[in-house]
């Protein structure tokens, strides 16, 4: 007896998601391209617009498209970024599946490796960017969000320098997560991120000494982690206060 697959196995919206995703991954639609309008898609797939819209919501959440309203609007293909990864981590954190001490443990282990790799890939361009990022840390604080961005810029550049997109994604995800928590708790920026905090790291990396860079980063990660754990405590207390 041959095995037959059910004719209808998936939701229509899922079928549409798969087809559109494949088209995007195969490069038939490239980043920036506009997908056909909802009406056109519903005609091409011979389905209702509601089904198309459900599919577009899924693709949006997965990070494949963004939509804009209006005459020149529509669904536009986006360059897939680490953002979804970051969101997934954030959800796991919010659901208490991952704790700050655990993240701290991971960071203390792998950020020195990132610094180590970065020290092996110093170029004049990267050196310039690192110096500028370091100087920008002393800029007057306009908003907390902007300040956090400036104080994490060095980590981003080092991650890029590591030459490994995986490390880059990981760093960006963890920085994004940290930013969310910091913004929620809103601590004193000067205590959380003293200016020039990353100077020893940058100097070690620019000296081209991988082990020195790793060591400097490790010390920074340990120090910063202590602050972060304090902040998480405040965060949890704030949350439980809001709930009661």
């Amino acid at each position: 007896m041959p095995k037959f697959k059910p004719v209808k196995q998936y939701r229509i919206s899922e079928e549409i998601v798969e087809q559109l995703k494949q088209s995007i991954l195969l490069g038939e639609f490239k980043a920036g391209d506009k997908l056909p309008s909802e009406r056109e898609l519903s005609e091409q797939f011979h389905v209702s617009r509601a089904a198309v819209r459900e599919a577009l919501r899924s693709l949006e959440i997965s990070g494949f498209i963004t939509t804009r309203q209006g005459a020149t609007g529509g669904a536009f293909v986006t360059d897939l970024t680490f953002q979804n990864l970051s969101n997934a981590f954030l959800d796991l954190f919010l659901a208490n599946k991952i704790s700050i001490p655990e993240i701290y443990q991971v960071r203390v282990f792998f950020e020195p490796e990132v610094a180590r790799l970065a020290a092996k890939n110093v170029t004049p361009e990267y050196a310039e960017r690192l110096k500028q990022a370091l100087e920008a840390e002393s800029d007057p604080i306009k908003s907390l969000s902007e300040d956090v961005d400036k104080k994490t810029a060095v980590h981003f550049i080092l991650a890029e320098m590591s030459g490994n997109h995986f490390y880059e994604s990981l760093v960006k995800s963890l920085m994004g997560l940290t930013k969310k928590i910091v913004e929620e708790v809103n601590p004193d920026p000067h205590v959380m991120h003293p200016a020039g905090m990353h100077r020893p790291i940058v100097e070690a990396v620019l000296s081209g000494d991988p082990e020195k860079a790793a060591k400097a980063m490790e010390e920074h990660a340990i120090e910063f982690g202590k602050n972060l754990i304090k902040i998480e405590k405040a965060y949890r207390e704030k949350k439980s206060f809001q709930m009661s």
Copy 2:
């Protein structure tokens, strides 16, 4: 001039997603609970069913709920897992944003650390599970999928033993990604995963020597990585063949 926020900022479905997500995260709906039916939700929110359904699609993709059809069906809250993380990595891989050699580099670095931590947390229960997983590797192969599961079981247990959910998520995600690729290429299982491949690791971990465990894992990761890179090559070739 005071700054006013636009009254209507988000899509209705987004608003619903946020509210439901908050409810779930606050524990008002727990894993296994059934959300109100689509009709009830649309009445409670005073919106159309289509809007509710778009919200449910988003929550589904994010891993918060699953839906079943029928009289006892509905949207059920799920325990948030690493699955979304895994999917995010898979998408990034499929979109050529992360390569196998990059993943390989990261694994060779952090899997030894996982083994190191595991060696510090050996209990009789874990020891038993590791031994059983090792024996199961020699079972006759029924299906590729099942075989891959058996050959990765040791990694999963070690990740659990590390006591760090972040490492656990990372390991599970990467194993899931590896499995997808392996299944796609369908190589000879005996070549890819010789039985007993993980014996030195298990022995080192059970001896309780962290550095020995890390060393054994490193050697395994390096060896396995070579296979994986070959497999990726085959995968890419297969894909480009399918496209032409």
